[in-house]
């Protein structure tokens, strides 16, 4: 566990020193500008606009970081050969993989939490007070964090197996496909061959279901998010991440370094 922690902290330190968290400045400026502008141009829907804009920006910036840093987590260390000295230490390859995952998830958690604070400050500026229904915004932020952890796990898996460019394509492709899980499940199977119908059904359960993590609409309109969905999404993300990390560790454990 200490080894995983050491790798995770180093990954976090790399992100901080490589100025990844500078995006927070951009986000803070966006929130300030939105809060001022929205107050002037929209009547009665300030909260909806601020929450939708804020959550979308949190999700978008987080995705960029998760994909672009995630795909380099292992491959960059192999290319730069920083891994050589490390793997000669008494550290198991799976510990390294899990540590890298934990480090980037920690970075994204700090990033997302800081953005959430900025979003709430903007909401406070517009509404002058926070209400109980605003907890839905908090849940939406939590779901974004879960979704990002899942994206990091996928990017890490591809990072262990292929080149950064292909990893970006595969991770982004899976993310986009994962947005349409509900549509895949409700496709008219009577127009398909039985084999294709069975394949589509299987695919809809195997692909990561990112659709379930999207509660931006509910949060913007102050509608509550069912507690069952919170538990369900938490368990789903934890299980999916565990399976993907297991696969990543299995791939990396057999990988010859250059």
């Amino acid at each position: 566990m200490r080894h995983i922690g050491a790798v995770a902290l180093n990954t976090f330190r790399e992100a901080v020193r490589d100025r990844v968290l500078y995006n927070l400045v951009f986000f803070a400026l966006l929130m300030i500008a939105a809060a001022i502008l929205v107050g002037q141009i929209s009547i009665g829907i300030e909260e909806i606009v601020i929450v939708s804009l804020g959550l979308s920006a949190i999700s978008f910036v987080g995705l960029l970081i998760a994909i672009f840093i995630g795909v380099g987590l292992v491959s960059k260390e192999m290319d730069k050969r920083t891994l050589y000295a490390l793997l000669a230490k008494p550290v198991r390859r799976w510990e390294f993989v899990v540590g890298k995952f934990a480090g980037l998830v920690l970075t994204l958690t700090v990033n997302t939490a800081a953005m959430a604070v900025a979003l709430f400050l903007a909401l406070l500026y517009v509404k002058h007070s926070l209400e109980r229904s605003d907890t839905a915004v908090l849940v939406a932020v939590y779901f974004i964090a879960l979704k990002l952890a899942l994206v990091v796990a996928l990017a890490l898996l591809f990072s262990c197996a292929t080149t950064p460019l292909l990893s970006i394509l595969y991770t982004a492709g899976l993310y986009i496909a994962g947005q349409f899980i509900q549509q895949m499940r409700t496709l008219r199977t009577d127009l398909m061959s039985p084999g294709l119908a069975a394949f589509m059904k299987w695919l809809s359960y195997v692909l990561p279901n990112f659709d379930n993590f999207d509660v931006v609409g509910a949060a913007a309109h102050g509608r509550g998010v069912p507690a069952a969905l919170i538990w369900q999404n938490t368990a789903y993300a934890a299980l999916y991440c565990a399976i993907v990390l297991l696969a990543a560790a299995a791939v990396f454990s057999r990988r010859n370094l250059k």
């Binding site: 050491a6 050969r81 000669a88 550290v91």
Partner: protein
């Protein structure tokens, strides 16, 4: 009898290449050898001979196609064994956003050292490799030689029993090379086993109890440097000056190599006295007489040339 610190048995490594990875390139072929406990072992070979491949196989950075290896009696797959091993990769590169002190502290964490112990050891190592004053500078500002020193520091930070160094002199200036040589000798005095790869033969001759020469993925010879090149003198060399010029010693001077006023003449051992008489008769002044032995370099070059000749013979026969 000395026990083996490193035992390698029939280790081979093939890399698939080409379309669909159907072709195989052999990088190491049936390597078997031992490094005894407490010795300094030099692993010699030209570029691409299989030195780094062997070391990477020992460190489990790559996996063998066949064969096994043990370090300190434990199979190389045993992760716990790495507590007792120090490794310097070839042309090491570390996290460039960290300082030297931070990177050493990071590596020390994997040896389960306490924070206080890490601090003491990191400071001691930085002093040992001469980076004490640069310890707070990020590695992205370090020269190649400084990175090599960091690499050496992290390899010996945890006081390992076996130290494996891949081209430790690479990128170092003469002062740095001398310091690395001193560190290797210190390790030997402390009873550590050191295996290092190099193609700088003078370093190997100076430091190693034994050397192994690898060419074309195959081990061609193992033993003490003087043992593998052979102790037999190849002849005698006379160094002399001719005060009266070359006139009186035309034939003698023609056989010798001239450098300034001095002549260097190589003769067979049985012809030594006759040659000395000739020099004296020609009015020459004898400066020295020394035995000529084959050097490790000559032995090494002979092996490399034989390997190249064999490779081109195979190429011709397959055409």
């Amino acid at each position: 009898m000395a026990t083996a610190a490193i035992e390698i048995e029939n280790l081979s490594k093939e890399y698939p290449h080409g379309f669909l990875h159907l072709k195989k390139r052999t990088s190491l072929q049936g390597l078997s050898m031992q490094v005894e406990s407490g010795e300094v072992f030099g692993f010699l070979g030209p570029n691409g001979a299989g030195k780094s491949t062997t070391i990477k196989l020992l460190m489990r950075l790559i996996f063998p196609t066949s064969g096994t290896a043990r370090i300190l009696g434990r199979p190389i797959s045993d992760i716990g064994m790495h507590q007792d091993i120090g490794y310097l990769p070839e042309q090491p590169y570390f996290y460039d956003y960290l300082t030297a002190a931070e990177v050493l502290d990071y590596f020390a964490r994997f040896h389960d050292l306490s924070a206080a112990e890490r601090r003491v050891r990191v400071d001691r190592m930085l002093k040992k490799v001469g980076l004490e004053t640069a310890k707070k500078i990020q590695l992205r500002k370090y020269s190649k030689g400084m990175l090599q020193r960091v690499g050496l520091a992290q390899a010996i930070l945890h006081d390992p029993k076996v130290v494996i160094l891949d081209e430790p002199m690479s990128g170092l200036d003469p002062v740095g090379r001398r310091e690395v040589r001193d560190i290797i000798l210190e390790l030997k005095q402390a009873g550590k086993t050191v295996m290092f790869s190099t193609h700088i033969l003078s370093d190997a001759e100076m430091l190693c109890d034994r050397v192994g020469v690898i060419v074309g993925g195959k081990l061609r010879g193992v033993g003490a440097p003087e043992e593998i090149v052979g102790m037999k003198a190849e002849g005698m060399e006379i160094l002399f000056e001719l005060a009266a010029g070359e006139g009186k010693a035309g034939a003698l001077a023609a056989k010798a190599t001239r450098t300034g006023d001095r002549y260097r003449l190589q003769v067979k051992e049985e012809e030594l006295f006759a040659a000395l008489e000739q020099v004296r008769a020609a009015g020459g002044r004898i400066l020295s007489v020394t035995q000529v032995k084959a050097s490790l370099e000559e032995y090494f070059m002979n092996l490399v040339e034989a390997d190249r000749a064999q490779a081109s013979a195979i190429e011709v026969s397959t055409q």
